[in-house]
């Protein structure tokens, strides 16, 4: 391991650029926002390379029952404006999500915070309405970055983070310079960073290849070869629990037919998808949302094969042979258009008539997603597995994609969260994976790997499974050769 060098400037091209770009942790919508926010703020916890939350601003994070938590802050941490971080800032940062006026994306989680109060200058007590031993990982997510008490205007925010904001223009420019008083020793290495949103994926790749930027976040797999063959740029593979799922509405007469669901599952040529669409970057999934590298992954669940004969059998059995169904896909969801086309091709072979309907990216989530019997969803990584189950599979969740209602799953989830012992918790999560694998209405063919193009002049770029751009904390970790 070489020793980091100090100084220099780094330009990072990220995927999103829009006037709705924001530095408000409550509103951040995508990795681009989050990466910028992690330049300026810190959270109470931070994920390490094995997806376990380490302590960051918090010195201690303790609970005996999973409901009542005591948060103790590190002392002597200062905001960019010089004021010291205290419990009041933490209380404000957590409680503001509950206000509807904040329009927080984490309002659902925050509603589970029954009570937040400061006990002393450095101590906060947090009471949850339901026990959850995964709270440390929840607090490591971008939404719960710690901001200064009372701030509502996030056009020029101050935080405790590694960089101090210089300029921010939504949809255009973000630049920040080193925080000389950063509380982590020796960090950051760079003098300044600049983050651009470059929405066109080809443009982003070309920018890093042409040397206009140092890091290109999210190289589409089809450009992977081009980057790999470059002399100046290396391709970094990030394994993240990100996936595209095909949603079959269980309350629909056709899509909810058990045999139909089974047939569609057997029609997934996961290997071909991985090899051709994703050029081999990613991992085959087994119709449940837990990635093989996740600490909670259940070993030993047999992989579902690609088997058109079985698919045909199920189609026949369902009595739906010869009928037809629209698959709604959109180019903004990775591999959805191709996946739908594959399904259409195989459908023709097993006697079911799929029609591919590609709809605009724009307006998809409000108009199409889960509103039709067969649509595609795109699930980004969450701080922990429980949250995925909670959001997308719990019977009462408004985002239960397939409207698959299974009381047993709800029960298992609550008990997993209330279980303090990791191994026991893992076992319960394992049962849930089996349940989803067998019965749910979502089909998860593959996990998508995230590829980054990183200039060979940049060092210290190590993927982190908690999120893109080294768990969004790329800026504090890298240095120039």
């Amino acid at each position: 391991q070489e020793t980091p060098k100090k100084g220099g400037h780094v330009k990072i091209a990220v995927q999103n650029s829009s006037v709705s770009d924001t530095l408000d942790p409550a509103k951040g919508a995508h990795s681009a926002d989050w990466t910028k926010q992690f330049c300026l703020f810190n959270a109470l916890t931070e994920f390490n390379a094995s997806m376990v939350p380490d302590l960051a601003l918090a010195e201690r994070l303790e609970s005996s029952d999973g409901s009542k938590w005591l948060i103790t802050l590190k002392k002597g941490i200062h905001f960019h404006d010089g004021s010291e971080l205290t419990s009041a800032d933490v209380v404000y940062s957590l409680a503001r999500h509950k206000e509807p006026a904040t329009a927080s994306k984490a309002i659902a989680i925050a509603n589970g915070f029954a009570d937040i109060k400061a006990l002393s200058k450095y101590e906060v007590s947090l009471t949850l309405s339901k026990p959850d031993f995964d709270l440390p990982s929840v607090l490591g997510s971008s939404y719960f970055l710690i901001v200064k008490e009372g701030v509502t205007d996030f056009s020029k925010p101050v935080g405790t983070g590694p960089y101090v904001l210089e300029t921010f223009v939504a949809g255009n420019k973000f630049s920040a310079k080193r925080n000389p008083n950063y509380w982590k020793n020796g960090l950051p290495h760079l003098d300044s960073v600049e983050i651009f949103g470059v929405t066109d994926s080809a443009a982003r790749v070309n920018a890093v290849l042409a040397g206009d930027v140092d890091i290109c976040a999210l190289v589409e797999t089809r450009y992977a070869k081009q980057v790999e063959s470059s002399n100046n740029v290396s391709l970094v593979v990030n394994k993240l629990p990100l996936y595209t799922d095909l949603i079959l509405r269980q309350d629909h007469a056709v899509a909810g037919n058990k045999d139909f669901v089974a047939a569609v599952r057997y029609m997934q040529d996961r290997k071909r998808m991985l090899d051709s669409v994703m050029q081999g970057y990613g991992a085959i999934a087994n119709d449940h949302p837990v990635a093989p590298w996740d600490p909670y992954f259940l070993e030993g669940l047999p992989q579902r094969p690609f088997d058109l004969d079985k698919a045909k059998f199920h189609v026949q059995k369902s009595g739906l042979a010869g009928s037809s169904m629209d698959i709604i896909c959109q180019p903004g969801i990775a591999a959805s258009v191709e996946g739908a086309q594959f399904l259409q091709g195989f459908g023709a072979k097993v006697g079911f008539n799929f029609k591919v309907r590609q709809v605009p990216v724009d307006g998809y989530w409000s108009t199409y997603w889960t509103k039709y019997p067969m649509t595609y969803g795109s699930i980004s990584n969450r701080p922990n597995v429980g949250m995925i189950f909670d959001l997308f599979y719990r019977s009462t969740s408004s985002t239960n994609e397939a409207q698959w209602k299974e009381p047993k799953l709800d029960q298992l989830l609550d008990s997993a969260r209330a279980e303090g012992d990791f191994n026991k918790r893992k076992a319960i999560y394992g049962d849930m994976q089996t349940l989803v694998h067998e019965n749910s209405g979502t089909i998860i063919p593959v996990f998508t790997a995230i590829l980054d193009g990183v200039s060979k002049k940049i060092r210290g770029y190590v993927p982190n499974p908690s999120g893109m751009n080294m768990g969004y904390r790329v800026a504090e970790a890298i240095w120039r050769a």
Binding site: R222, Q226, S276, P331, Q344, G345, V356, Q358, V361
Partner: protein, 284 residues
């Protein structure tokens, strides 16, 4: 060739009256139109066929134009795409030109506030950036073939209207229209018999250009993800979806681009020679 000379049929005489480049253009255009009609029968593979070809494969006997980013046969994709590129553009252009011409005719003959109001409306459609209009239309109604055709038609109609109206206004002031008025002809007769036949020629020339723009417009819509739905693809979408192969010089990008280029150039050579022919004709 000799056959045509011996029997100077209407088509043959027309063909001979074109300049060399015009004839080449006509042949290319006809070739592509035939492909658009018969493409699906010639194509070795269907639209939904996943052949197990290599990704971005080179030209081989099995895949005469190489393979695309999913390993599909590109020749089939280009043959099938002709129907969308040409068909859609043709229908859209026909709609745009016909509606534009008819509206212009009506508004010229009626005149007054109706003409004024319609012209303002068309002006506003004209100055609205066309891609925005397309974006709005597709965002509202989703991307289906009728919507695409309608979008392209609405985008190009104001232009056709403008040209047609200036033609019609000019013709409306011609002395022979005056003669018809003096003979108390009806407005309908004046519009259909006096004005319309005389603006057909310039509108045809305009039609050709507009057609080419429509082909390109569809391809740029596909860039914004608003084009023809997969697995079908027009040529522009073919270029777009295989764009990542450009850095390695994959034939999958070049072939559809060449198809667009030949169609465009062919159609324009033909149109240009039509105009030249007309000029010569007017001189003698």
């Amino acid at each position: 060739m000799t056959n045509i000379l011996r029997i100077p049929s209407l088509g043959g005489r027309f063909f001979l009256s074109l300049s060399i480049s015009g004839r080449v253009g006509l042949c290319i255009s006809i070739f592509w139109i035939l492909i658009a009609i018969f493409g699906p029968w010639i194509a070795p593979y269907g639209a939904t066929d996943f052949t197990d070809g290599p990704i971005f494969g080179p030209l081989t006997l099995a895949y005469p134009m190489g393979t695309d980013y999913l390993g599909r046969d590109l020749l089939s994709r280009v043959l099938l795409g002709a129907r969308f590129s040409i068909g859609l553009a043709l229908v859209a252009t026909l709609l745009a030109s016909t509606c534009g011409t008819l509206l212009a005719l009506i508004s010229t003959v009626i005149g007054g506030w109706f003409d004024e109001a319609l012209s303002r409306l068309m002006d506003s459609l004209l100055i609205l950036p066309s891609k925005i209009l397309a974006l709005l239309m597709v965002a509202i109604y989703g991307s289906s073939l009728p919507v695409l055709v309608l979008t392209a038609a609405v985008t190009y109609m104001p232009g056709a209207y403008r040209i047609a109206r200036s033609q019609a206004l000019g013709l409306n002031a011609m002395e022979y229209v005056m003669v018809s008025r003096l003979n108390s002809e009806s407005r309908l007769y004046i519009a259909c018999k006096d004005i319309l036949p005389n603006m057909i020629h310039p509108m045809m020339a305009d039609f050709g250009l507009r057609f080419v723009y429509n082909v390109l417009m569809l391809s740029s819509l596909s860039f914004l993800g608003l084009g023809v739905q997969p697995p079908d693809a027009d040529w522009g979408s073919l270029v777009r979806e295989n764009l990542s192969g450009l850095s390695t010089g994959a034939p999958a990008v070049l072939m559809p681009a060449i198809a667009i280029a030949t169609l465009t150039i062919g159609a324009n050579l033909f149109i240009d020679s039509l105009q030249a022919r007309k000029r010569l004709g007017a001189g003698s």
